[in-house]
């Protein structure tokens, strides 16, 4: 028993020591803090926000990113799967040959060339300078062309009247993942989006949020070192959400 404990402590010590080494070795990478955007400054094209998702670390059956997102934005589940809004969902991928199962979160991929923006008749579907793709619900007429144009099925239409919303959302407009734009704009931020935060808290640590244009950001470092895939890269949309270890 004692022996076990010693062993465990040793492992814990080693794990932490390695972690410390990781931090100090990569101090230029990890500790390079992103400067918060002052409230009176516009989002800049010097940044491009994105998320990197490691499919191997994402837990099959874990739904924390989805529930965190929907809780944060007050997106209700009304028990109507055909019409309930979905800002993020889990997708199960099964390799028929080997039976290998993977599960990944799927949401707005924040394309650099977003088809939803191309087709929008009122310019409601828009991309911010820092790459975040949003719906301007003031201009949205609810035609849902963007939903048809999106190859990722990332957008939802609000069918029901909203009363207890935590984030502006209303009947008759289209909505989707905002990359937690309020957290990005927070004068003390940018903070990780709710999904990333939930994933880390759950211990999966399958998601990294950061600035793809900053060569010193952790996400850029990881992408440079290990590479990353875009889903439907053949469409040439240059997505801000990248995946690793998809099989």
């Amino acid at each position: 028993m004692n022996h076990n404990k010693v062993d465990q402590y040793r492992r814990q010590f080693l794990a932490q020591a390695t972690a410390v080494a990781g931090v100090s070795l990569a101090s230029g990478v990890i500790l390079n803090t992103v400067h918060a955007k002052p409230a009176d400054q516009a989002a800049s094209s010097k940044n491009r926000w994105g998320i990197l998702i490691d499919a191997n670390k994402c837990g099959t059956g874990c739904n924390k990113c989805v529930s965190a997102c929907h809780e944060e934005h007050g997106v209700p589940t009304l028990g109507k799967p055909a019409t309930d809004a979905q800002w993020i969902r889990k997708v199960k991928l099964t390799d028929k040959q080997t039976g290998h199962v993977q599960s990944i979160p799927m949401m707005c991929q924040h394309c650099a060339n977003p088809p939803c923006v191309d087709v929008c008749p009122t310019n409601a579907s828009m991309k911010r300078a820092d790459g975040v793709v949003l719906v301007d619900k003031h201009a949205c007429i609810g035609c849902r062309y963007c939903m048809m144009a999106c190859p990722y099925n990332a957008r939802s239409f609000v069918h029901e009247k909203t009363t207890e919303q935590k984030y502006p959302r209303g009947k008759g407009t289209v909505e989707s993942c905002t990359l937690c734009v309020r957290r990005i704009d927070d004068p003390n931020g940018p903070y990780d989006p709710a999904c990333v935060e939930a994933c880390n808290a759950e211990g999966h640590r399958a998601m990294w949020f950061g600035d793809l244009k900053d060569p010193n950001s952790e996400i850029s470092g990881r992408l440079k070192q290990y590479g990353g895939e875009q889903i439907r890269s053949d469409l040439g949309l240059n997505t801000g959400i990248r995946y690793q270890n998809l099989t």
């Binding site: 911010r128 301007d136 935590k166 209303g170 903070y191 709710a194």
Partner: protein, 165 residues
């Protein structure tokens, strides 16, 4: 002359009660809980705000949504936070009720607004991030200080057991 006086007296008698009554029906929007500045009280002078509040909000909404500029001065959220704060018993007026700051005048003027079909009509939680973020630790900056998760500990325990067998 006599006739004229009589008519005037009659008109005064008829009109006066109406004027008095109309006066009491004027909307009385709830006072803000705090002042933006001592000089202007609200974010602009009261006269200016009564006349042009819609232009300020309209301008700000595009700045915020499309550019990410989130200054508080002309933000609709701050209007609500200050003018429609909960009463002492915790009750908050909802849109459409005459006690709601915006509805008070808009009911009177019969101008229908649709701001609150999307926006919240009551003060937003200032800590808008859901409860997880109370820990307020970004994992990536705290690798070394993170405690091992229960999963890891279980794994460690099972590892050592296997090692003994």
């Amino acid at each position: 002359m006599f006739l004229n006086n009589k008519i005037i007296a009659l008109m005064v008698a008829l009109v006066l009660p109406v004027v008095v009554q109309a006066d009491s029906l004027l909307p009385e929007p709830p006072k803000a809980k705090k002042k933006y500045s001592e000089k202007t009280q609200c974010v602009e002078s009261v006269e200016e705000m009564r006349k042009n509040h819609m232009s300020y909000i309209l301008h700000q909404r595009d700045e915020t949504l499309r550019k990410g500029i989130r200054t508080k001065q002309y933000s609709l959220k701050e209007c609500i936070n200050c003018h429609n704060a909960p009463a002492e018993d915790g009750k908050v007026a909802r849109t459409g009720e005459s006690e709601h700051f915006c509805s008070t005048c808009h009911i009177y003027a019969a101008v229908q607004i649709d701001c609150f079909s999307c926006h919240s009509d009551k003060p937003a939680n200032t800590q808008y991030r859901h409860k997880l973020s109370l820990q307020d630790t970004s994992y990536h900056l705290n690798v070394a200080t993170q405690n091992l998760t229960s999963d890891t500990l279980e794994l460690l325990a099972s590892d050592t057991k296997e090692g003994q067998q």
